[in-house]
Amino acid sequence: MITVHDLTKKYARTTAVDHISFSVSKGQIVGFLGPNGAGKTTTMRMLTCFFPPTAGQATVAGFDVLTQPLEARRHIGYLPEMPPLYLEMETVDYLRFVGRLKGLSGAELNRRVEFVCERCAVGDVKTKLMGKLSKGYRQRVGLAQAIIHNPDVLILDEPTAGLDPRQIIETRELIRSLAGEHTIILSTHILPEVEQTCEQVIIINKGKLVATDSVQNLQARFRGAESVLVDISARSGEMSAAAVQQRLEQVNGVSRVTCRERQGHGAVFEIESDQGRLVRGDLARLVVEAGWDLNELRSAAMSLEEIFLQLTGAESAAATSSAAPESNA
């Protein structure tokens, strides 16, 4: 549905997007992840034909953004970072205006306006001036205008920015429910958001593509073998960490044990096991049988956050230049 090949955008002195290539297939939700100023908005603006790329190609729904911008735009619904609302208009008038602009008319326009009002839960503010709407409602009206012409591709720039936690959850649910009928690209710098809403993630930093993969794969890639954190403490008296470590290493399937931290009567161990072997039961049994207390036993799977820091951290360590300027300005 979206293919991007060697897309580059240069501003006067900086390269905001540097030879990015990726593709998104129909019906997917893709998270576009990167720190502020990574080039997310710039990439999205090129995809929506807001401005043309300096080099490279991008096609949306089969239309090239440079040579067939009008056709491409017809298949795109776009929610910029700041919802593009005319504050002196009523919600329903605004939606009708956007619908007409996107080529709807007559009965179909009425039907679509009713539909998106219901879909995005803005029916109760239909006749309110948009200047009087709360941030959450404005975001939902923004989403409503993006889907009014039933586009194949939805491009959402930081759709949850500036919302309160409940509104964030509502917005995420709404976006998730839109997947399937639309192909969605959403940008964010909030990592849990990608873990919760997206199937695929594209990580960029300083205009360069760092990783593109499914969320599960990315986590698995960095997890490698399964690792478990175990917090053990002695029931009475001292406990020799070295002795405990030795006992843990003897459990079937354990490949490596490292002592993470030691405090008073206890210690936390990170236990790596061969992939596919479930050693938690054995570990728990051993600890209890040896007369220690098992305070905590949890999976040490890397969160996307750690992966992200690892990926972008390596990048920034190599690059000595200062942070890329904010492209949203």
Binding site: R73, M89, V98, L101, K102
Partner: protein, 255 residues
């Protein structure tokens, strides 16, 4: 051009749902009404004096009232045009709604023409209110309506030309005040350009004088349909909208 009409309708709705349109028409009517009252008062006094001296009363309402009054009205437009045009693109840029327009399946030119046309309609609506005063002249006298119609055509053309310039200036900034002040300066300069021809007959002075927007109104004001001046106004409209399109395009390449 269907899209231009969609943009135009939204723009008009925006003028009339906010206080802008109503405020402008109030101010315009007030000032024009004062002009009218003064000219009428002067005319009445003059006729009475002439009658007392046993001479013929001046009969030409067109020459004595309508023509000077409309010359003033066209000048009054210079003050109102920046107020109409300043928000056209500056406001869109500030609110971020420009991203909606430029990522919708509409051509830049359709957006520009729509916005400019809405501003022109608002201006026409303003000067329509001035015509109410003239109704009194038609009720109590017998002025010739044809020169009046031509003068109104001239005013509309002049307004449309200046609004096209204002539309262009509005794309240059996201600050409405800056756009308004810039447009006002441009309008004022175009007005005083003609002064130079009064003491200088060099070639450049003639060019400058030709560029002056108010001097082209004079023949319309006399009730003469002049193709030369019509061409001037149409060229300014075309040029203004052309520059607006280029400016909007450069916005895409730069930003």
């Amino acid at each position: 051009m269907k899209n231009a009409w969609i943009v135009c309708r939204r723009e008009l709705g925006s003028y009339f749902t906010s206080p802008i349109a109503w405020l402008l028409v109030t101010m315009y009517s007030l000032i024009f009404g004062y002009f009218f009252w003064n000219y009428l008062g002067h005319f009445v006094l003059q006729s009475m004096e002439l009658q007392m001296m046993g001479e013929m009363a001046p009969t030409s309402i067109n020459e004595e009232i309508i023509r000077p009054l409309l010359a003033n009205a066209s000048f009054l437009g210079i003050f109102f045009i920046p107020l109409i045009s300043m928000r056209l693109f500056a406001e869109e840029k500030r609110n971020g709604t420009i991203e909606l327009l430029t990522t919708s399946p509409v051509r830049d030119m359709e957006v520009i023409v729509g916005k400019w046309f809405a501003a022109t309609i608002l201006y026409c609506w303003l000067i329509f209110y001035s015509s109410i005063s003239f109704c009194f002249l038609f009720i109590y006298g017998h002025p010739d309506w044809k020169p009046l119609a031509v003068a109104y055509l001239g005013m509309i053309l002049q307004g449309a030309a200046l609004l096209a310039l204002g539309t262009f200036i509005s794309t240059l900034t996201r600050n409405q005040i800056v756009a308004g002040a810039g447009t006002f300066a441009a309008c004022l300069l175009l007005w005083v350009f003609s002064w130079v021809s009064s003491y200088n007959s060099a070639g450049w002075a003639a060019v400058l004088s030709y560029l002056s927007i108010v001097s082209h109104y004079e023949s319309f004001g006399r009730g003469v349909l002049s193709s030369r001046d019509g061409v001037y106004y149409l060229s300014v409209i075309f040029l203004g909208l052309f520059f607006t399109a280029r400016s909007l395009e450069s916005l895409r390449w730069r930003s």
